[in-house]
């Protein structure tokens, strides 16, 4: 049953690369300069190396929580199709989008540890980044809330008269929320310059895709909102980029929103708290291994004469070193002072919060039960 589902989901997917990384006959290859091709590769590797390193820390009890993107790295590269002044409203599993747009490895790791150098000041759980300087919007845990927000930003961009657009990522499970619907519907009516990137990885924690909707495809949901719906192979970077480029063009031209369903697969657990063996056929992930987005992209680069063993080694080593240093810093840096607990609730602190702060500061500090 599982395998059938996987094959069903594969039917009629738009692709640029086949499973061996060869260009599919007739496919339109997006026009990407060679240095970008390499940077994309480095971004994919960054996510993979980061995920492994962070999960190791988590398993060692040194990191509270983590969420991997393994097997889904390609989908996040949709942001390649954007400009820097476009805005992105991510969910929690598009690490590559952050790195591509310039979020540093150091910020990324500092956020996970919530230290003084965490851009969000230790206020949120790991993987809830925010980077306004690169127009990456703060992640929150309630799924789907970012979708109507992206529409609002897109509407604002249009009202302002710019040709910017907004892109929002979310999982296929999240398409079941009311937020998905109201956002798609608002965008359709307003012809807002927004791209909905639905990352269909087959699972929402323990719930399989077929319990999430009876629709044949998620892309078909676009019909109900009067916008185009596209299904791409989410493990094919080039297909994702191409589809997003087309959607961005439509958005900039005033032709409104697009829904892109990127079909991929959640190879491992939902998060560091999850063990999928409790609900998922153990054979299922292996079926997907041949679709590994990094392998396919590597093969493509190889066929273009761009990839070499030494290139990859160089990148991986550089990444690992930088990550090691960043971990060292992140785990030894000071933690936010307790008075920061009371800041940023409002622009200026009202009396009642100041009073609560003063009351806390008059008490001896409480030791964190989690050490650093």
């Amino acid at each position: 049953m599982v395998a059938v589902q996987a094959k069903d989901d594969m039917a009629g997917l738009r692709r640029v690369l086949d499973e061996e990384g060869k260009v599919v006959p007739g496919a339109e290859v997006p026009n990407i300069p060679e240095e970008d091709l390499v940077r994309i590769f480095e971004t994919l590797l960054t996510v993979r190396v980061m995920d492994e390193r962070m999960m190791r820390l988590q398993r060692q009890g040194r990191l509270g929580f983590y969420m991997k993107a393994i097997g889904e790295e390609a989908t996040a590269l949709a942001v390649y199709a954007l400009r820097g002044d476009d805005w992105v409203f991510p969910s929690y599993r598009e690490h590559g989008a952050w790195f591509w747009r310039g979020y540093s490895i150091e910020s990324y790791i500092n956020q996970l540890f919530g230290n003084v150098d965490d851009p969000v000041k230790g206020r949120q759980m790991p993987v809830h980044h925010s980077a306004s300087e690169i127009n990456m919007v703060s992640i929150s845990s309630p799924v789907g809330t970012q979708i109507p927000q992206a529409v609002g930003t897109a509407q604002a961009m249009a009202i302002e008269g710019t040709d910017r657009c907004a892109l929002t990522f979310f999982g296929e499970g999240t398409s079941s929320t009311g937020e998905f619907h109201v956002a798609m519907n608002f965008a359709g009516v307003a012809r807002a310059p927004v791209i909905f990137l639905l990352r269909n990885n087959g699972w929402a924690i323990s719930v399989p895709r077929e319990k999430q909707t009876a629709a044949k495809t998620f892309a078909s949901k676009a019909v109900g909102y009067g916008m185009p719906g596209v299904r791409v192979d989410g493990n094919d970077v080039l297909a994702v980029v191409k589809a997003t480029e087309e959607a961005a063009e439509r958005a900039r031209a005033g032709d409104g929103p697009t829904l892109i369903e990127a079909v991929t697969y959640r190879v491992q657990g939902h998060s560091s708290s999850d063990d999928p063996s409790a609900y998922r056929d153990p054979d299922e992930p292996s079926e997907w291994e041949l679709r590994d987005p990094v392998n396919r992209y590597r093969a493509y680069l190889k066929s273009r004469g761009i990839w070499s063993e030494s290139l990859e080694t160089e990148i991986t080593e550089r990444l690992n070193e930088r990550i090691t240093k960043a971990i060292e810093h992140a785990t030894t840096a000071a933690m936010p002072d307790r008075e920061t607990l009371f800041e940023d609730v409002y622009e200026s602190m009202p009396w009642h919060i100041a009073e609560q702060r003063d009351a806390l500061l008059s008490q001896p500090p409480v030791k964190s039960p989690h050490g650093h």
Binding site: W87, F89, D118, P119, V120, K121, R123, Q124, H128, S130, A131, S132, V137, S138, S140, P142, T145, I147, P148, Q149, A150, V151, G152, T153, A154, Q155, A156, M157, I159, A166, G178, E179, H181, V182, A183, N185, F186, V189, A190, E343, D344, V345, Y346, E347, P350, W351, H352, I353
Partner: protein
Amino acid sequence: MATMNIIQAVNSALHIEMARESKVVVLGEDVGKFGGVFRATSGLYDQFGPDRVIDTPLAEGGIIGSAIGMALYGMRPVPEIQFADFIFPAFDQIVNELAKFRYRSGGQYPCPVVIRTPYGGGIRGGHYHSQSPESMFAHVAGLQVVIPSTPADAKGLLLSCLRQNDPVLFMEPKRIYRAARGEVDEGDTTIPLGKANVVREGEHCTLIAYGAMLSVIEEAANKAAEQGIRCEVIDLRTLVPFDVETLIASVKKTGRAVVVHEAPRTCGYGAELVASICERAMEYLEAPIQRVTGFDTPFPYVLEHEYLPNADRVLGAVRETLEW
């Protein structure tokens, strides 16, 4: 100065601010061509066009969600929720998103959305056109809650809301939308947030209310005066953050207080006022603070006149504090 009702005062504030600041955008159900079911946005569509006065599809979560996106981007959206009773589909966006954006992003993403919504009973609206959910929002850190009781306040407070950088729930007492008339500056006069208004001084008992209940406590104060009881009447205006100094100063003087709201009693905003005052001025209290509130039932239809606090019930509570 001109005589206005609350609708006109709100409308005037929106006109002024939209003309002054191009980032202000109004959105909601029926707010465009029609000018809102209560006509508070009347004339804005003609003056500022469909880009800045937006009729949305019927989805409050979408209204607030898209307003948040606009605010993050730098606009100043002023969404209207047609009745406060219909704000709950947007509750998640308000509680989990709007209120927390600045904090959770380490200060990167302020979110200055001013949500306007008519609230309260007295218009024969039954369960779903009468509710007063202010205490739920007052419980949410990151939000401000503002409720005017006069046309001048409606205008001045709304202008202040539109010019600061944090989210506000601006609740308009629809029962007195047209009934409350008063002199309002036609120009650009703001009234500061966070400051209560001592409407009348007195030394026997402090009466505290906001919105449509203000006229009820004023009437009670009049009746009390006939019996020689001089009440201090305080219009709270801002519920979060509230003007604790003014309240405490008054209670220290009078030694007694009655707090009044339409919402159900249990966990209503009155509980917070009682607790806050007791914490700070218990030694001055000559009697327990009385709460005169709506009952712990859904808002009724034919019996709403029994449900809503009135001057007699307030007066009874005043007497209880005096006779305790």
